[in-house]
Amino acid sequence: MLDQLALLGMGLGNLFDPLNFSMILVGLTVGVLAGALPGITMLNAIVLVLPFTYLMGIVPSLLLMTSVYCGGVFGGSITGILFNIPGDPMNVPTTWEGFQLNKKGFVSKALGMAIMCSAIGGFMSALIMTVASPPFAKVALSFSSSEYFAVVFLGLASVVVIGTRSIGSALISLFIGLFLATIGMDDIYGVPRFTFGSRIMETGINFTTALIGIFAIGEVLEQLSQKNKEGVIERFRPKTTLPRFGEIWALRYTILRGLGIGTVIGAIPGTGATVASFVSYGVEKQVSKHPEKFGTGVWEGLAASETSINGSVGGAMIPLLTLGIPGSGATAVMMGAFLLHGIQPGPLLFNKSPEAVYTIFVGMLVCNLIMILAGLITAKFFSELMRVPENILSAFIISFCLLGAFALRNDMTDVWFMAIFGIAGYLMRRYDLPSPPLILGLILGPLAEKYFLTTMIGCGNDWTIFFCRPVSGSLMIISIGLLLMPFLRGLLKKGKKEMAVP
């Protein structure tokens, strides 16, 4: 314990090196900006800064990349709250509540709440990472494909709680998304599916195109096509207001739940912040006393999503540092940085390079505190855009969307898909088909299929394996409970009504 404290002290001392500290500031700024721009994701930003680390030592390199990671997972919530455009799939649940809060006039506080919850989630998960890395890693290592499938299934089951007005519509939307995710070359067998002989279709549909199209383009078409609406609207300049301590304290259980879910799911390789965000949102809705209000601008939904996203960052670093197994796409790139400097992450890392490891720990703790400032500055920058008249802003939003879709794979196919999803997004809004489940299906579908089929191949098509293993069995039962909860609630309500009638 004393050794750990001494190493932490050494790590803190390293942070005061001008180069190291400036890397945190640069990384945060780049990360938040990249996370906010749809199409230029946090992962792209980490890949873009990787070449710059060739000329640096291992400590500033890793501080730069972890700062980009921390800033990037938060950045997408800014544009989500302001413009209903989530910067990354993980920010979708934040957008659901944040944009509604914006419409209600609480945009300043929504931005402030998102910043604080992100900072708290990131800071606490970095603390957990510092203290509990080895035992966490042992549990994560015991996971096989059946556990991974159970985690993803839990994420998919959360769609039922998202479908407030009609569960049927939510399920239809989810299964459409899951089906669209099957288009292209199959990962397990290498067979083209529903490509109609087109080579372009073999690459499948990138979910980011659906995200940008449905949320951004769909929203623009909806807003501008409304009858009797003036093209020029008086825009205001929202400030960012950090929440008071009492407001944060009122959400303490939500934040704790989001932190726990984010850290645990983040520590499982192959899942990441997106799954954590959806699961946390779904669970929060289920435990809420007013689940019907979710989707209309509820603080608990915003807090749960943001805390879990940044909570997953510390979790994702655990398997990377302790086992050499990246917990997410971003940590996979960071592993490249380690190898570039001749360091092999894994169990021996703590013995061979303890200074580097503990500097990363302290760096992440400090990073999440400084992120409050970076978040305030970036939110102010994007908030200024709210003063721009809607007809000008909408045109530029679509331009950014075209560029963002092209930037994914430098391919016009993605731009086409984005435009088609944009029109579909508008139609879905008009005909009351919820779009979030479709996005969820597109994002989690490939993961669910991969883990399901891998398990079936390994277990001779014995589907009971999902319920026989303790962890996957528990998660599957929780998921089935989530799916049945709305019906049970309805029956309970009906029973109470009948009993009340004399």
Binding site: G168, L221, K227, N391, V415, G445
Partner: protein, 184 residues
């Protein structure tokens, strides 16, 4: 009471039928793709589920969901609108404006590769802002030009995105523009 229920059912008939059209269409599409998947799965791997198990399972669940939605609609048929899950009538849409915006969007995607991103984006911004309600010609021109230049600087010079340069003489025009703006 019976008369009230009949009145409610009559009132709900049109929106209920409208809400059923979507699920029925989706159901039929589901059947089409299910049959297609069966024909494509010519060489299933022995002892394994194969590449088309998952999409077919999803399509079956999709068809069940459509049936569930139809049941939901019928269940709410005799109730008030608030319980049916039927949305209150959406706000009226300006169809002309909507169609124009969709056409502009698709035209931008089609023309991007043909005439190059700079020219395409300039024309898109100009025309879209005009459709959206910005009337002053000077504002339209200035914002379109400056906006396009800003986007080029950010995405081509800083991010190094290889945006489409266009075909035929549009390629030369785009390269000329990049050189004038010191982007390349």
């Amino acid at each position: 009471m019976a008369q009230n229920k009949a009145e409610i059912m009559q009132k709900n008939a049109a929106p209920a039928i409208k809400s059923l059209t979507g699920p029925i269409l989706i159901f039929l599409l589901g059947v089409f793709f299910f049959v297609l998947a069966g024909r494509l799965d010519e060489n299933p791997v022995e002892g394994q589920l194969g590449a088309f198990f998952w999409p077919r399972a999803i399509l079956i669940l999709l068809m069940f969901s459509c049936g569930f939605k139809v049941l939901e609609s019928f269940k709410g048929f005799g109730k008030g609108v608030a319980d049916t899950g039927l949305e209150a009538p959406p706000t009226q849409a300006n169809m002309g404006k909507l169609v124009a915006m969709i056409v502009m969007l698709l035209a931008a995607v089609v023309s991007m590769e043909m005439i190059g991103f700079p020219l395409c984006n300039f024309l898109f911004l100009l025309l879209f802002m005009r459709i959206a309600g910005l009337k002053k010609k000077v504002h339209l021109l200035v914002i379109s030009v400056l906006g396009t230049i800003l986007l080029l600087y950010i995405f081509v010079k800083i991010v190094y995105l290889p945006l489409p340069k266009g075909q035929w003489f549009f390629t030369d025009f785009t390269i000329f523009l990049y050189r004038v703006l010191h982007i390349i």
